[in-house]
Symmetry: C2
Subunit: 204 residues, 2 copies
Amino acid sequence: MTTTDETQAARPAGRPRSARAEKAIIEATLDLISESSGLGELSIEAIAARAGVGKTTIYRRWSNKEDLLVDALAALKAPLPALAGRSLREDLVACAEVFLQEARNARSRCVMNIAMNETERHPRLVQRIHQATIAPRRAVLTALLQRGIATGELRADLDVPVSIASLIGTVVWYVRGFGPDQEDLPEGTAERVIDHLLVGMSPR
Amino acid sequence: MTTTDETQAARPAGRPRSARAEKAIIEATLDLISESSGLGELSIEAIAARAGVGKTTIYRRWSNKEDLLVDALAALKAPLPALAGRSLREDLVACAEVFLQEARNARSRCVMNIAMNETERHPRLVQRIHQATIAPRRAVLTALLQRGIATGELRADLDVPVSIASLIGTVVWYVRGFGPDQEDLPEGTAERVIDHLLVGMSPR
DNA sequence: CTGTTTCGAAACTTTTGTGTATCGAAACGG
DNA sequence: CCGTTTCGATACACAAAAGTTTCGAAACAG
């Protein structure tokens, strides 16, 4: 038993790795992915320069580019909307608001692009994005719609898969018509889309 | 007046440029764009190799990469659906079928990706895509929906912009759940989506 | 046949990124 | 204070691609 047996195995001695540098590397990576399109244009040198870090510090932690990408995208948390549960419409609007903001945010959008385009080049990465980002959203919406069917707020014969595609796809495609990061998008856009789609999803 | 005054100005003498080579270059460019993601990964050398052409032949016609891309994407015709005009539903299904096929076709999909992601890097190119591909589709759908409103097949207070986004966005997002080029997508998908959306767009 | 231009191929220079190694300085444990 | 490890910076060899030039062959006009 050594004297330093606080909680875990003893620290391996020597200068500890800088958590600040690690953070800076992840941030720089996400920045550069957002600015570029496609993972092929991403260079380790650019990441090191942007992060104010030596290349050594990167290669010491990640042996190849994909490992770094996996960690970087994992750090990009996916904030699912808090579902108040008061009414179906209210929860759907909350979801739409989240999707809308993500569609306008460069960092969130690049995750979608990677999932759509890099399936063959980086299957491991895409698979991880699916289970970390896409599957949870799909699950939330599925549960939400089935709850709505149960409470009678939605048609009993509702086509759930198509409804999910319409909820996400419509928001994404609608905001696409406006500038990516501009501020000229009106206020009640989420409500407007949901109210439009809800007409066809409600009973009678 | 020279003897060769057939229709236009006389040919400038010398070996004429091979139309076949030009075609091969355009085809190779489109192939490589489809396979890659992002325009930055595209290399002139790869295009020349794929086309079976010397790099000289490319640089002689296009001074830079973007000029080549503009011409290549212009060659990618956008087949708007033939609108039979018998019923609104029939025409909408025809549109949806076209969008669906395009969403699964690598060459068409890459146009969408470029339009969404390369706005800052290639504004000229994106602007051209907008006026050559996106605007016509938007116009067709707008006319179609307004005709439907006039004939009473659609609600008089229909939100046309949101409807357009829902028609395209839902199809694109729905087929996205299946494999990109797989064959496992069911037959009546276009009808299924249109019938779902039409519920909320019809009167009463 | 002669002059001109394009053809594909190859050599060339320059730029950019990869991955490794080396350097002195700094941060820790003991 | 000492050994160890990380720090950022820099240099290095290697590869890929950009863009230019040169080359012999081929296609066309006159």
